[in-house]
Symmetry: C2
Subunit: 369 residues, 2 copies
């Protein structure tokens, strides 16, 4: 590694911090408990518990007294103790289930650099924060890790799961359902399973892109597909082919990438080499479209004059691209929020039916097409 970290100390090492450390130990060992509050308020633990948890049937006067005592002692309920008895963790897990490949990359770089991830986190947090539910982040690659996760979850690690499955042929949705763990997926499961999910009408989105391209007058439209086994990619490809077929185009040249910018660039190069007369491309996500733009630029093609490009997702990459990408808006934040709400409802009532919510895509016209 090029960087050589230098370690320094803000004060002399080997020395003990005088006040804070001692106080700390004391503070840790003696945090106010329900008992303390009860003593101060002159009532029983049970009453304090009822007040703190907002159970009615408590005299208003006592109510006031108790809250005053809570403030006075600085009491904060102990989550572990509470979970132990309620069997609720007050936590929801965001699980990213990927294939094992990223085990090679120590920093899982590709995964978290994709704007996709951040958008989902933002959406999930937007509904969790107001209700005071915590978010745990889990990343599983290998099959044993999936089994371990299910064990941890059953045992109460989290009350439910928002699942992001990037791994085609993922066993996790099945495992979760089987274990009776509340779960909602963002994006449909790769194979049908009795699990709730929120998804985008990907086919319709692809059709929107095709419409735009053909309306512009494109005659020779190509496709850059995503990973073959990923549902979102499959649906976009299918939507593209269907829409093209409906307009009379029985076949279109295509290449596939893996949703990264580099793969899009390479795919575009291959496409261009095989079909130099292309005048339009639909790319299955923005990151690859951004790469395609680079390849197009290098090949001396002007976008959109020579070749029009439509991406998918309307991620930050779309606006950052040169020229800015015309793309299909994928309201991921909204969808992740929706999924989280669905999950919360399901945690509340486990008997709730498995439901799907499909969002409609919208075309965002910028300069690339």
């Amino acid at each position: 590694m090029a960087e050589s970290p230098q370690t320094g100390n803000l004060s002399r090492p080997g020395e003990r911090v005088p006040g804070s450390a001692g106080e700390r130990g004391a503070a840790r060992s003696r945090l106010p408990t329900l008992e303390d509050v009860a003593r101060v308020a002159g009532v029983s633990r049970a009453t304090v518990s009822r007040v703190v948890n907002g159970v009615r049937n408590v005299d208003p006067d006592l109510h006031t007294t108790v809250w005053a005592a809570v403030d006075a002692t600085g009491y904060v309920p102990n989550r572990a103790a509470r979970s132990l008895v309620t069997r609720r963790a007050g936590t929801v897990a965001l699980v990213v289930s990927d294939s094992e490949e990223h085990d090679d990359d120590p920093f899982l770089g590709r995964l978290f650099t994709d704007p996709f991830f951040g958008r989902v986190v933002g959406g999930v947090l937007s509904v969790l924060r107001p209700v005071g539910v915590q978010l745990g982040l889990h990343l599983v690659g290998s099959p044993p890790a999936r089994v371990r996760l299910v064990g941890d979850l059953r045992q109460g690690q989290a009350d439910g799961v928002v699942l992001l499955s990037l791994h085609p042929d993922d066993a996790l949705p099945g495992l979760l359902v089987e274990a009776g763990i509340a779960a909602v997926m963002v994006g449909r499961p790769a194979r049908p399973a009795p699990i709730s999910y929120v998804d985008l009408a990907n086919e319709a989105g692809a059709a929107l892109a095709v419409e735009r391209l053909l309306a512009r007058g494109c005659q020779r439209v190509g496709l850059i597909a995503g990973p073959e086994h990923v549902p979102a990619s499959q649906d976009r490809v299918a939507g593209f082919r269907q829409a093209m077929a409906r307009r009379g185009y029985a076949w279109s040249p295509s290449e596939a990438g893996n949703f990264t910018r580099e793969s899009g660039e390479a795919a575009m190069r291959r496409l261009l080499a095989a079909h130099p007369d292309l005048d339009g491309v639909f790319v299955a996500n923005d990151l690859m479209a951004q790469g395609a733009l680079v390849a197009l630029h290098e090949a001396g093609r002007r976008v959109p004059d020579d070749v029009a490009v439509v991406g998918f997702d309307d991620s930050s990459a779309a606006q950052a691209a040169q020229p800015p990408l015309t793309t299909v808006r994928h309201p991921l934040e909204v969808m992740a929020a929706e999924a989280t709400r669905l999950l919360l409802a399901r945690i509340e009532d486990p008997q709730l039916r498995v439901a799907s919510v499909i969002h409609d895509p919208v075309l965002v016209v910028r300069r690339s097409a």
Copy 2:
């Protein structure tokens, strides 16, 4: 909202799921406990506990028997119960402390779309995963939210905190130290505090950029700074000015943005308007540099021939930019990992001295300068 979600059901609503629901209830209510394992193995709870926790002083034969019983029952320790007695949560919190502005944005979009965030998550997770520690994600904006977080933390929500403070003048570092909560920052605190942190030698990085620009023969170098009160931005600006001064440039034109692409574009436009003869720019982060590139392109300037641009961070935006950005590498993943290791050590031994680790930046030469 343009998207109109349609709700559908995979089976008829109002109906109860036959098997799974019942089993689920049963499964939930009767998960194997230590007691069960003990009964199966024919030993006491204490012994099972010792075996499971790897305490020695256990007869090898019993060891085997107990593990067999664990497998047979499918036992998984209950985290809440364990935390309750050990006073350890087995969880680390990644806290993003921002100003309140994002409260306007329901999806906290800007925050999580920045590649910055994902890189930190990747780094933290890379060290947490192998040791089986969970990651909790917390976002705090308002001052009361900070106080609430500290309460939750003290009470055992997490064993320690990796803090990402984006809010100049943030009270959180102080609050954490005061409460005796183990914490390590990624990026130095805005004002000196007895808290460990991992940072980049930002000034040195800026100097690297200046060197590159001047070595190219740039004569009129401008600066696009970041938010005034953010330490990383301050240090980069200071480093830039010092390096320029050392080369004899007493003053350089500058504009400031807020680390977003749009703000970089606007800043570049202002800079260009005021100083049309600029032939080089140092931009305090890649996102803004990407925006600057757009403004430059619009103004008909060729990069790097007319104006050379150096960014900062070597984020994914740098490679995606057109042309790819020459930039200063900020090994965020490595740094976040380092911070996490520091935190883990501190949790293990709270008496450990407060330490700082400063990484050295490296210039990554691409095409923009």
